[in-house]
């Protein structure tokens, strides 16, 4: 008997002691924002990390020369660490120069790397730190993903070559301090440091989009001391795990697989010099029309020095269902809306009454991204080698895919069905345009198939339905369902497409050798310019030419490629629009892609979080947002009262069943 009462006691104690809040009591009073990350960041090194997830963390830690205005749309660059947004100075020989002037007096965070052994010290931010970061991007050992973009700087590739050469010829060279290595290799000719606060960048060719890159963490200032000190030896972390802050927040805690905490950086120029009222350090005074009544320009925040939060607490939460439920319980301040709970949150386009009653807000914004199904143009059956027959086949398969139905089934009707590669909000997008091959029409598709020589989907060579393979990496069960939707669609016009799911290595191998027919891919904009989408179909970018290049369809149409070269450097205007429309009609006819959707992000925010505007690009939102801890604590307590009666019912049932048996047993016993 005593053993069963022991068990019941243990259960009751466990329930009483535990509440379901994942955070300590001490957090209740602090202005901390809780964010769920679906994956753990692979690296926090600004020169290497390229995923939106990593940027969500480091954009708040690394400040950059330029920034995007928080509220204005379309996106507008404002000075950050730089005093002003420079214009391109044309030099002789097609070269262009950009001059940045730093504000004196800005400092890095206090850290032992500045004075090893002597305890935390700090240093002023200088133009040389920006030059050092650009040299790091060039350094082959760092393996930065954006080398191709910055090789437009004069002397960039030559520097990388000299560096590699010196390391190979003289082994002791590699032991030298990192800044000496870069200095001995002669630095980058097109990166000129004048004095402590002036930096000049000289480009080999026109590239107006360069300024956008100076609003991304790639070009944030990195002190050479940090690279030298944090090398992973003698118990010290790697640099990619220990960022040195120049921004409003610094890293306070890094458990890569579970939790990352940023706290207010006292050495930030906005904290040291509020009097400057620098645009990057004060809450914007104006915004997009409608921002005011959306509560984004409240008098108590406009013009006030940033940041408002004390701490940002990132939690790795891989199961999106669990993180959404925790958001509903009040343990995350904001959350995307998962497919499964969309109908509870959103009704006919607006916030559902249940959610509104809880004081939540809904923010809708279209993110500059495109998701599509692509054909490999090198493939004899579906590619350009198949001539007109292949093109009619692609057109037929494009007509079979109903993007609206796909989004209704899988995304609760969210996201904008795509007509062309260019998403809304980016120059070159025409809301009125509808792509004739993206309006589902099974009859016309079957007719096109007949014209292509596949009567009723039968392949004349094999007298069986045309067999194509759809190459997916190692998809999880949910994405397999999406692929099955497309396969079913093609089956309705008689084509038998097989999902070839193999382990990761085999998939990469096939992509490299071009041995694939149909694939699916997505692209999120680096910066708001049509070039950043059309370059995905530019011939020279073909995957088969150099592995890893973004043009996975190996689409190489001479007219399209010529137009691309013209369009890429033109300023926005009717002339650029006309050329983009011509490129679009080529794509319409050739069908290298079946455009699916542009992401429409729905985000839910609790009542206690303020000044939140969805941005999409990697913009440091941390410093603009504020939180009301008291309201949060009250609402959490109200929504999370544990329901305890099942515990008593369970215990009663257990006792009710066992005790009579025990009593009768002992009574019967001799």
């Amino acid at each position: 008997m005593k053993r069963s009462s022991l068990v019941a006691a243990f259960v009751l104690v466990a329930i009483a002691a535990c509440s379901n809040s994942p955070y300590p009591k001490s957090d209740d009073g602090i202005k901390v924002r809780y964010i769920a990350l679906p994956e753990w960041p692979k690296t926090l090194d600004p020169g290497v990390s390229y995923s939106a997830l990593d940027h969500a963390v480091i954009a708040n830690v690394y400040d950059t020369l330029l920034e995007y205005h928080y509220l204005n749309r379309p996106f507008e660059l404002i000075p950050g660490l730089a005093q002003a947004v420079p214009d391109a100075q044309p030099l002789g020989g097609g070269r262009f120069a950009y001059r940045f002037r730093l504000r004196p007096g800005m400092r890095f965070q206090k850290d032992p790397c500045f004075a090893p052994g002597a305890g935390p010290a700090d240093r002023e931010i200088e133009a040389a730190d920006f030059a050092f970061e650009l040299m790091r991007i060039a350094d082959p050992v760092v393996i930065s993903p954006v080398v191709a973009t910055f090789s437009k700087i004069v002397g960039f590739d030559e520097f990388a070559g000299r560096l590699a050469e010196k390391r190979k010829s003289d082994p002791s060279f590699a032991q030298l301090r990192i800044d000496r290595q870069y200095a001995d290799a002669g630095g980058i000719e097109g990166v000129v440091v004048r004095g402590r606060y002036e930096l000049e960048i000289v480009l080999r060719e026109a590239y107006p989009q360069l300024l956008y890159w100076f609003a991304m963490p790639f070009t944030a200032p990195v002190p050479w001391e940090a690279i030298a000190y944090y090398d992973g030896r003698r118990g010290r972390p790697f640099f990619k795990e220990h960022p040195i802050a120049s921004g409003p927040f610094r890293l306070a805690r890094y458990d890569q697989h579970s939790r990352i905490v940023l706290e207010r950086n006292p050495n930030w120029y906005g904290a040291l010099h509020p009097e400057w009222r620098a645009p990057g350090a004060t809450y914007p005074t104006s915004g997009e029309p409608g921002d005011a009544d959306r509560g984004l320009l409240p008098p108590e925040y406009v013009g006030r020095p940033l940041p408002f939060l004390d701490r940002i607490d990132f939690r790795i939460d891989k199961e999106d269902i669990a993180s959404f439920n925790k958001f509903l319980q009040g343990y995350y301040d904001a959350s995307g809306i998962i497919q499964e709970s969309f109908d509870r949150a959103v009704q006919n386009g607006g916030l559902s009454p249940a959610m509104a009653a809880r004081g939540m807000a809904l923010a809708k914004s279209v993110e500059p991204a495109i998701f599509y199904i692509g054909f490999n143009m090198k493939d004899p059956v579906v590619g350009s080698a198949g001539g007109v027959r292949a093109r009619k086949l692609r057109q037929a398969m494009s007509l079979a895919i109903d993007a609206v139905e796909f989004l209704r089934v899988f995304n609760n009707g969210r996201d904008v069905p795509a007509q062309s590669p260019i998403p809304p909000g980016i120059f070159g997008y025409e809301p009125g345009y509808t792509n004739p091959y993206r309006k589902p029409d099974l009859e016309r598709a079957r007719a096109l198939l007949d014209e292509a020589g596949y009567r009723g989907g039968i392949d004349p060579k094999t007298q069986r339905p045309l067999h194509l393979t759809f190459d997916a990496g190692s998809p999880d069960t949910r994405s397999r369902l999406r692929y099955q939707f497309w396969v079913d669609a093609w089956r309705r016009i008689g084509i038998d497409v097989e999902i070839a799911a193999q382990n990761y290595n085999a998939f990469q191998e096939k992509m490299r050798k071009g041995a694939y027919q149909i694939y699916t891919w997505g692209w999120i904009a680096d910066y708001p310019d049509p070039e950043n989408f059309l370059f995905l179909l530019w011939g020279p970018n073909s995957n088969s030419l150099n592995p890893g290049a973004p043009n996975n369809s190996n689409f190489a149409d001479p007219r399209f490629d010529a137009l691309f070269v013209e369009v890429k450097d033109m300023p926005n205007g009717p002339e650029r629009m006309r050329k983009i429309v011509e490129m679009r009609t080529i794509l319409e006819r050739e069908r290298p892609w079946i455009e699916l959707s542009h992401t429409e992000s729905y985000a839910l925010y609790h009542g206690w979080i303020r000044n939140v505007k969805p941005v999409g690009l990697s913009i440091p939102t941390g410093k603009y947002v504020d939180v009301d801890p008291k309201l949060r604590r009250a609402q959490r307590r109200e929504w999370n009262r544990p329901i305890l009666w099942p515990a008593w019912a369970l215990a009663a049932a257990f006792v009710g069943i066992v005790v009579p048996g025990v009593i009768t047993f002992f009574r019967e016993r001799q």
């Binding site: 053993r3 069963s4 068990v7 466990a14 329930i15 002691a17 535990c18 509440s19 379901n20 809040s21 994942p22 955070y23 300590p24 692979k42 690296t43 082959p140 393996i143 993903p145 458990d255 890569q256 697989h257 579970s258 939790r259 939690r315 790795i316 939460d317 891989k318 199961e319 669990a322 439920n325 925790k326 319980q329 343990y331 190692s474 999880d476 382990n503 990761y504 290595n505 990469q508 191998e509 592995p547 890893g548 999370n640 009262r641 544990p642 329901i643 305890l644 099942p646 069943i657 066992v658 048996g661 025990v662 009768t664 047993f665």
Partner: protein, 313 residues
């Protein structure tokens, strides 16, 4: 006794070599060096960098040399780096061990105690409806997949009743109990069906033995008879069965850590599976086998404590 110990350890070591050999073969079946390099360095890297990476990691050497290096590094516990993000695997192990043990150990202890306790309780009430119900519940619990137990548990205890956080982890001692409460509950209850059924049959068999009648004739009470006599005699088969439950620790931690977001060894293994990071997977399997062998040897020695008749020749 000492001779047996030495022989047993030597044999255990031989098995470890066998395990490593098997892992080496699997590793080579799995990936060609160029693939591993591309995975580690990144798809966009030029082939020059790939070759340097391969040379750096010694994948270009003839396989006998790689075999020797593989054995040497594994036996000296120098596990090298993960294919995916170049983090030293030994650091991943030490970071992951804490969270994993924080719930597998309590769950294992509870499962053992409850398994023996409830089995004794049910065996004592042999042939009553408590006994029949106990057996039925045990078989039912064995037939439910742990996947369903986790899904239902999270939904009921986390979402509906708000007893525990739905998932998450925090090593801070004040918060740890609320995070591991549900994983421990689910993990222990999942495996308990088999334990109860196995132990019950043992106890029922022992209670029919003559020495139990002698003990009762001496005037010993039922509780004393069940524990000091019946349990003591059933200890050896229980110990052997417990050893076979160790691998179940790995299965459970694999699932529970990925569902509950506990950054333990299970989560690392699941991540290694899904991203086909074989170098980490290889180490996980090696550590799993090592623990299992050590535990088996330890159990052999506890036999002598449990049963004097066992002579370790």
């Amino acid at each position: 006794m000492l001779a047996y110990a030495i022989r047993r350890l030597a044999y255990g070591f031989l098995v470890v070599l066998g395990v490593l050999g098997l892992l080496f073969v699997l590793f080579f079946l799995y990936a060609k060096p160029i693939d591993i390099a591309r995975r580690a360095v990144g798809e966009k890297a030029p082939s020059a960098v790939l070759q340097t990476w391969i040379a750096q990691h010694g994948y270009d050497r003839p396989w006998p040399e790689q075999l020797r290096d593989h054995y040497w590094r594994m036996l000296s516990f120098d596990f090298g780096r993960s294919d995916i993000d170049d983090v030293p695997i030994s650091r991943r192990l030490s970071e992951g061990a804490g969270p994993s043990l924080s719930f597998t150990v309590p769950a294992f202890v509870i499962e053992l105690l409850l398994g023996v306790g409830l089995a004794l309780f049910v065996a004592y009430f042999r042939d009553t409806y408590i006994d029949r119900m106990g057996v039925i519940l045990a078989v039912l619990s064995m037939s439910v997949s742990i996947l369903l137990v986790i899904i239902a548990g999270q939904y009921v205890f986390g979402k509906l009743l708000n007893w525990f956080p739905i998932s998450g982890f925090d090593p801070d001692p004040a918060l740890l109990p609320r995070f591991i409460a549900m994983p421990v509950l689910i993990f222990a209850l999942a495996g308990i069906g088999g334990e109860i059924r196995f132990n019950r049959t043992l106890f029922v068999e022992e209670t029919s033995r003559d020495y139990v009648r002698t003990a009762r004739a001496k005037g010993a009470g039922d509780g004393r008879v069940m524990v000091r006599h019946v349990l003591r005699n059933a200890l050896i088969p229980i110990l052997t069965h417990v050893v076979t439950a160790i691998p179940f620790l790995f299965t459970g931690s694999l699932l529970i850590e990925s569902f509950f977001g506990i950054p333990g060894l299970g989560a690392v293994t699941v991540d290694a599976i899904q991203s086909s990071d074989f170098s980490t997977l290889r180490v996980m399997v090696y550590i799993g086998a090592l623990l299992f062998i050590v535990f088996q040897i330890v159990t052999d020695f506890t036999y002598t404590l449990a049963d004097p008749r066992v002579r370790l020749e």
